[in-house]
């Protein structure tokens, strides 16, 4: 609650810059979240992530998230736990308060993609086992070996790519 009435289309743009219109922000949040959901992210984590991304400081408290997205504290808790696990947000305690802040940083995608490597690793293990158990000299075994080679290639490439991004980013945006 505490935002329902929209204050009758406030005539004066709050501080500066029109970006504070909650309705506009909300529209973006929901739209972007929808795209993330379509790509496989669960709904609540997607909405929480989008809300953080669209916030001024990149940090919001649990209460603020619940209010903006109209969801219960439990839902916030679950979503945040998920996002932290896949390294899409970090959590930090406000000193001298029991409030916790959830933060998304500019280079967060870097971290998230790095995390995918764990998954790739497990795929590779399964494939290696498959090559052995099906026989490296069989047609199926050869196909598995090639798939495995692709993932190994990918792993190296992604690491190099991320390094390039770090450089590119600094050139374009300066150190964040």
């Amino acid at each position: 609650m505490a935002e329902a009435k929209a204050t009758g289309r406030s005539p004066e743009p709050a501080a500066r810059g029109a970006e504070r219109d909650p309705e506009v922000v909300s529209r973006f949040v929901e739209h972007f979240a929808a795209q993330l959901v379509e790509a496989g992210l669960p709904r609540m984590p997607a909405r929480v992530f989008a809300a953080l991304l669209a916030s001024d400081t990149g940090t919001l408290t649990s209460a603020e998230l619940g209010e903006r997205l109209k969801i219960s504290p439990a839902a916030v808790s679950g979503a945040v736990r998920y996002l932290a696990q896949v390294h899409m947000v970090s959590r930090e305690r406000e000193p001298g308060s029991r409030r916790e802040r959830y933060r998304v940083r500019g280079d967060q995608w870097y971290e998230a993609l790095t995390n995918r490597e764990v998954i790739l690793k497990r795929w590779e293990d399964a494939l290696r086992e498959g090559v052995t158990s099906l026989g490296a000299d069989t047609p199926a075994g050869r196909r598995l070996a090639e798939t495995l080679a692709f993932f190994e290639f990918l792993q190296d490439e992604v690491a190099a790519m991320m390094e390039r991004w770090r450089v590119h980013r600094e050139q374009t945006f300066g150190r964040g």
Copy 2:
């Protein structure tokens, strides 16, 4: 379930190469499929894909899939439709028969990853709109702009990477 009895450990290796033992194949299929599921692929598509990957020719008919995975024709149909849509299998008609064969090729991942670009594109569109509607001069707008830059960077890099894979593959495996 469905793996307890193991047919009393068949004494003679079927044709040549021990790879025909259905139990061994099945174990790999289910294990690898489980990894794919964990990464977000729906269960049936994952199992069908793994079964194709572990087959000798890389092609199986609907009936063969149903038999090996102990699922109904309807389930096969649904899974195959999904996989075809994300370019993880291709379908081909057997000339002079109403049978259809589903195939996974060695470079199928190439295709599948290329398809991801469609998703990236939509993310980019949503972000661009966000930068505009929140204001490019606001803190939130700047964060969105940086995120957008990352995806644009990614898109170019992935394209280049795939090209390198094609070269690397040919050197390692010869033309498939």
